[in-house]
């Protein structure tokens, strides 16, 4: 790097490296011997990484001030594995506004969750293991965020999946947790298959087009020296995209560019739990609650959004792929919000709310185009604010669960007096997610709605406004039921405020949820020239706020008091309510498809074939290998004469081969 870039810029690798080192040290050396130390050291490493991320952001925005050009820098990278010149797997750190944004979100939330977990997991038998996995996750997530090329992104993507699997199944002696971890892993792994094919398509054609592209663009002159065929900077380059889209090869009439972007989006949809791959996220709530706050609310699930944002120029160039993103996102946000209104488990409501908000971010990305990029900014803005208030909601839920020892909102109630801090912070987060001025969610949601309206997607805009109302309704539903009224369960009567290590991170997040809305995101995160903050767009604000207020009012009228109106309403709606409560029976549909159709009709014959033919073949090959080994070991007679004979025979063999090779 040039000399004027700062120290942190040149040492940006520290940000993912610190959690990695801590993972190794804590996992191997500390956690077996000194449980408490594991938590402390794991936490300190993340805090250090967080400080590094802040310094890095400060350095970057000093070099390239807000409102101006924000180039993509790769201040540090090295070639890890080279197959041949120009085709190698690199490891590096990419710095640009969105990677910085994600670094800040991930390190901040992770640090707070680490601190919180020191109290929450206190006395748990897997305390050391827990922090080891948490560090592994943070490292993988940061590695994903800073990936300068799609290979590193994919590797870290899988690592993130593994750490999520390990943490969901953290209570491995609880069958439901084990089942949930398997479900999460299999569903996301299935989606990653699409991503992998997309990566292979992109890198194969990327490598083919690369020489042409270098000749045309003059990579060196454009400051793209050292660009590899798998780098994002190259994959997002308009010249490359034009060449890729213009290839004659098509698949079922779809251009290869659109096909690969749709496949990449399949991976993103799996990780971000978009319909119909959303089924793993609600079950993932089996993990410890701080894990839900970190992984399944604030960071890992937004990896899909980040991936789409990272490849945004490619998605926008394809057009069709972007529309797919928009409609999948919009549908998921509505679908999940509707289910969220009926769930009884506080963490599940939050999980469906996460799904719904992720859909928001996706739809914002999908509606933006190369010319009209407000949605891109809005999506990142919402990712930013959502991370804080959603993590806070989960932490609050964790504090409540910790105190009441149940997940069901109907066994809580009246907690505002016993847990005042939790109550206030939860209320702040609820207001933020409902989009009430002046809390953070108001501003980011406003931008998303403005983007949808401005791009002319009126249906999507309508859906988004409706979802804003539903969000306010289901959030205030759990808020009223949990904190107001009388204590209903035995646990609720004996609840007490969370310890300081737990409420302090929550208080900090509450402040962030309240004020981050005023952050001038468009000055920092934009494509092309900065689209100035539009101020308050009344055509957006009035319907959104109106719907949110109606939602709150309905929640208040139904759930303040003994809730008999809600019961009556549910009875009136009858089977509709039941259908929604059962999550539209999507899980049952999957079960039917997997069990009845795949297992019975397809898997059975395959299993038979597998058992008789494949296993037989494998056993046979194993047997052949072993008996081959045994037979060959008989050659080893122990007789020096035999050895000498073989030696001499070998020489004769070499002579023969050399002779035939040279004649």
């Amino acid at each position: 790097m040039d000399g004027d870039s700062g120290w942190m810029m040149q040492h940006a690798w520290l940000i993912p490296a610190l959690p990695l080192v801590s993972f190794a040290v804590v996992g191997l050396l500390i956690s077996p011997y000194w449980k408490k130390g594991a938590g402390v050291i794991a936490t300190l490493s993340i805090v250090a990484s967080m400080v590094c991320a802040y310094v890095l952001a400060w350095e970057y925005f000093t070099l390239y001030p807000a409102g101006g050009e924000h180039p993509i820098l790769v201040p540090w990278s090295f070639e890890w594995l080279r197959y041949q010149p120009g085709l190698a797997a690199n490891v590096g750190v990419l710095v640009d506004p969105i990677s910085l944004l994600l670094m800040i979100v991930v390190t901040t939330v992770s640090a707070l969750v680490h601190i919180y977990s020191n109290a929450y997991m206190h006395g748990d038998y897997g305390f050391g293991r827990y922090f080891t996995f948490l560090n592994l996750f943070t490292f993988s997530m940061l590695g994903l965020v800073v990936a300068p090329d799609i290979i590193q992104m994919y590797v870290c993507w899988e690592l993130v999946g593994v750490s999520s699997f390990l943490l969901i199944g953290f209570y491995y002696n609880k069958p439901s947790a084990v089942a949930a971890s398997k479900k999460a892993f299999i569903v996301t792994r299935f989606a990653d298959l699409g991503f992998l094919v997309g990566v292979l398509l992109l890198s194969f054609y990327g490598y083919r087009i690369f020489p042409d592209w270098s000749a045309e663009v003059g990579a060196v002159a454009n400051g793209l020296a050292g660009t590899q065929p798998v780098d994002f900077q190259y994959l997002n380059d308009p010249v490359f995209l034009a060449k890729f889209a213009a290839l004659d090869t098509t698949f079922l009439g779809i251009s290869l560019l659109t096909l690969s972007m749709c496949l990449v989006f399949m991976g993103a949809a799996g990780k971000s739990a978009m319909f119909p791959l959303h089924i793993w996220l609600p079950d993932a709530m089996e993990g410890p609650t701080p894990v839900s706050a970190l992984i399944h609310a604030a960071t890992m699930v937004v990896a899909g959004v980040y991936l789409v944002a990272r490849l945004f120029p490619a998605f926008a160039f394809s057009g069709t792929a972007a529309l797919l993103v928009a409609y999948v996102g919009a549908f998921t946000s509505l679908f999940a919000a509707v289910i969220g209104t009926t769930q009884d488990d506080i963490k599940r409501v939050l999980a469906f709310s996460t799904l719904s908000q992720l859909g928001y971010m996706m739809l914002a990305l999908g509606v933006s185009t190369a010319e009209h990029t407000l949605g891109y900014t809005a999506s990142m803005f919402h990712l930013f604010t959502h991370a804080f208030f959603k993590a806070l909601l989960f932490m609050g839920a964790g504090a409540v669960i910790h105190a009441v020892h149940t997940n069901s909102i109907w066994e809580m109630g009246g907690l505002w007096r016993k847990m005042p801090i939790t109550h206030i912070t939860f209320l702040v987060a609820t207001l933020a997610i409902s989009g009430i001025w002046p809390f953070a969610g108001f501003f980011s949601k406003d931008e998303i709605l403005a983007a949808a309206l401005g791009s002319g997607h009126y249906v999507i805009f309508g859906v988004a406004v409706l979802v804003a109302g539903l969000t306010a309704f289901y959030m205030f539903r759990i808020y009223f039921v949990t904190f107001w009224g009388k204590g209903r369960g035995a646990g609720a009567a004996h609840a007490h405020e969370a310890p300081a290590l737990m409420w302090m991170p929550m208080a900090l997040l509450a402040v962030l949820s309240a004020v981050t809305g005023f952050f001038p995101m468009a000055e920092y995160v934009h494509l092309g020239e900065a689209e100035g903050h539009h101020g308050i767009n009344l055509a957006v604000v009035i319907p959104a706020t109106l719907f949110a207020l109606i939602g709150i009012a309905m929640a208040a009228s139904l759930y303040i008091g003994d809730g008999h109106r809600a019961v009556a309403l549910a009875k009136m709606l009858g089977s509709v309510h039941q259908t929604i409560k059962q999550k539209f029976y999507i899980d049952e549909v999957y079960l039917f498809i997997t069990h009845r159709i795949i297992f019975h009709r397809i898997a059975r014959p395959i299993a038979w074939f597998d058992k008789r033919m494949v296993d037989g073949g494998v056993d046979a090959s194993g047997w052949a290998t072993r008996s081959g080994g045994r037979a060959l070991s008989l050659l080893q007679t122990g007789q020096v004469q035999t050895y000498g004979l073989w030696f001499t025979g070998g020489v004769a063999f070499v002579v023969l081969i050399l002779w035939s090779a040279l004649v």
């Binding site: 890890w80 081969i657 090779a661």
Partner: protein, 483 residues
């Protein structure tokens, strides 16, 4: 002059130990091993800090180049670790005493003689020096293999080794003789020039004889037969040294022969090399599966690893040489780490069957972890260094068009994973049936294992070392006779 200083230091240390041993009693002889370590460390320091990367002495008969520099470093590191691993056994600190392992002065000085031989081997530039230094490197190994004089197995190992080693040496001498007859020169560069375009049958015979000699050192099938018996019979610290030192010397000899004498003909030999590579890795792997004795098991593992090395000769030298050197480095670290555990376990329990390692993860988690890491590296699990080393070698073969061979190598890697995991399984998964007394710890072996585990874990992630080797190789190739 300064290029020969490391050799002189090692040689002087060897003699000093031999002479000092005469005036010492059993109690003070514990200082001999530290003396050997100090000598090697000093030589290493001189090598790293002071020695230029190239130069020539004695009329060009002793030369220094970048690849040679790396080889010498590797020889000295192997010897250093071998001394550290031998200390406990020789000083009688092992809980289960090995009888007949005395004579420390002779042991260390003979070990050092062997290192000097290897170091001269890479610097040799004519046939006579090459042969004499090869013998200097090998003869001490015969003696070391037979070190336990009251153990018939050790004696048998030494005898087999010496008989077959003599056979190999005889073939090499015959080959060299024919080469001299063809070219009337002992100077490697002159030989290479005069051999260019040579097609006489005598040339093939000479090439075959020399290649067989190199194959013997490198344990290439079918010249590998000695390895299993010698590895198993020799005292375990000697086996550790044999498994890396002898292989490194074999690779150095192969470099001398392939790149300096037969550089012109090498491209025509890919098929031969490919066949030997496939044979070696397959046979080594298949036989390793059915072994129960861990030393014999490691012998076959070492044979199969030699097959991977051969892949490096298939591509262009500027790709192949750094890949082979890097894999040698990785192999030395990983293999010595495994042997550190084997030696420690044998010292503590006197046992050496794979099944005996049952439950080691509970009784000594750090040792088990070190061994697991090293075995995974040998099997080539990412991101450990063994994976990256294998990746480079495999990609050379694939670029040279030997896709079938790469497939064979990949299948072999999978098979090897099976048998390396057999050991891990014993340590981690198999239930512990009896309460075995927890083995004690050892400072020298623990230190070696710690020193070895770090590069095993990080060499695959940090590319600096590979880049260093790569740069050195480019310089080395530039200095080659035919470029």
């Amino acid at each position: 002059m300064s290029i020969i200083i490391p050799e002189i230091i090692v040689l002087a240390t060897a003699f000093a130990i031999l002479i000092a041993d005469l005036f010492m009693n059993e109690r003070t002889r514990v200082y001999l091993a530290p003396a050997a370590v100090a000598g090697l460390l000093l030589a290493l320091a001189v090598m790293v800090v002071h020695t230029p990367a190239s130069g020539a002495l004695i009329g060009g008969r002793f030369t220094m180049d970048a690849a040679g520099w790396w080889f010498k470093i590797l020889f000295m590191i192997s010897a250093l670790i071998a001394v550290l691993l031998s200390m406990d056994t020789l000083d009688g600190r092992a809980r289960v005493r090995v009888r007949g392992m005395g004579f420390r002065g002779e042991y260390y000085s003979i070990l050092l003689f062997s290192v000097v031989g290897m170091m001269f081997l890479v610097s040799a530039r004519d046939l006579a020096t090459l042969f004499v230094s090869l013998e200097l490197a090998t003869l001490p190994l015969f003696v070391l293999a037979a070190w336990r004089r009251d153990d018939p197995k050790s004696g048998e190992a030494g005898l087999k080794y010496v008989v077959l080693g003599a056979l190999a040496s005889a073939f090499i001498v015959y080959g060299f003789g024919i080469l001299y007859g063809l070219t009337q020169s002992t100077d490697l560069e002159t030989i290479a020039q005069r051999l260019a375009g040579e097609r006489a049958p005598a040339f093939w015979l000479a090439a075959a004889l020399v290649l067989a000699g190199a194959g013997f050192k490198l344990t290439i099938v079918p010249f590998h037969m000695w390895a299993a018996d010698v590895y198993q019979g020799a005292p375990t610290p000697v086996t550790a040294y044999l498994s890396v030192g002898s292989k490194a010397a074999g690779l150095a000899f192969a470099f001398q022969v392939f790149y300096r004498i037969f550089g012109d003909a090498l491209p025509h030999w890919d098929m031969l090399i490919a066949i030997f590579a496939a044979l070696t890795m397959t046979l080594g792997n298949l036989v390793a599966i059915v072994q129960h004795d861990i030393k014999r098991f490691m012998a076959f593992s070492a044979i199969s690893q030699a097959g991977y090395f051969l892949l490096g000769f298939l591509g262009a030298a500027e790709e192949g040489v750094p890949a082979m050197l890097f894999y040698l480095l990785v192999y030395i670290f990983s293999n010595l780490a495994v042997f550190a555990c084997i030696i420690w376990f044998e010292n503590e329990t006197g046992k050496g069957q794979i099944e005996d390692y049952r439950g080691l993860s509970l009784s000594n988690p750090l040792m088990a972890l070190g061994m697991t890491l090293a075995l995974f590296s040998l099997a080539g699990i990412p991101p450990l260094s063994g994976f990256v080393g294998k990746f480079f070698l495999f990609s050379i073969a694939s670029k040279a068009g030997f896709h079938g061979l790469v497939a064979v190598a990949a299948v072999n890697s999978t098979i090897s994973l099976y048998y390396y995991l057999r050991v891990v399984r014993q340590m981690y998964i198999e239930p512990v049936d009896e309460r075995v007394p927890a083995p004690g710890s050892s400072v020298s072996i623990g230190l070696s294992l710690a020193l070895l585990s770090v590069p095993v874990a990080i060499l695959g992630i940090l590319p600096t070392v590979y880049e260093g080797i790569h740069a050195a190789t480019i310089a080395w190739l530039a200095s080659m006779p035919q470029g």
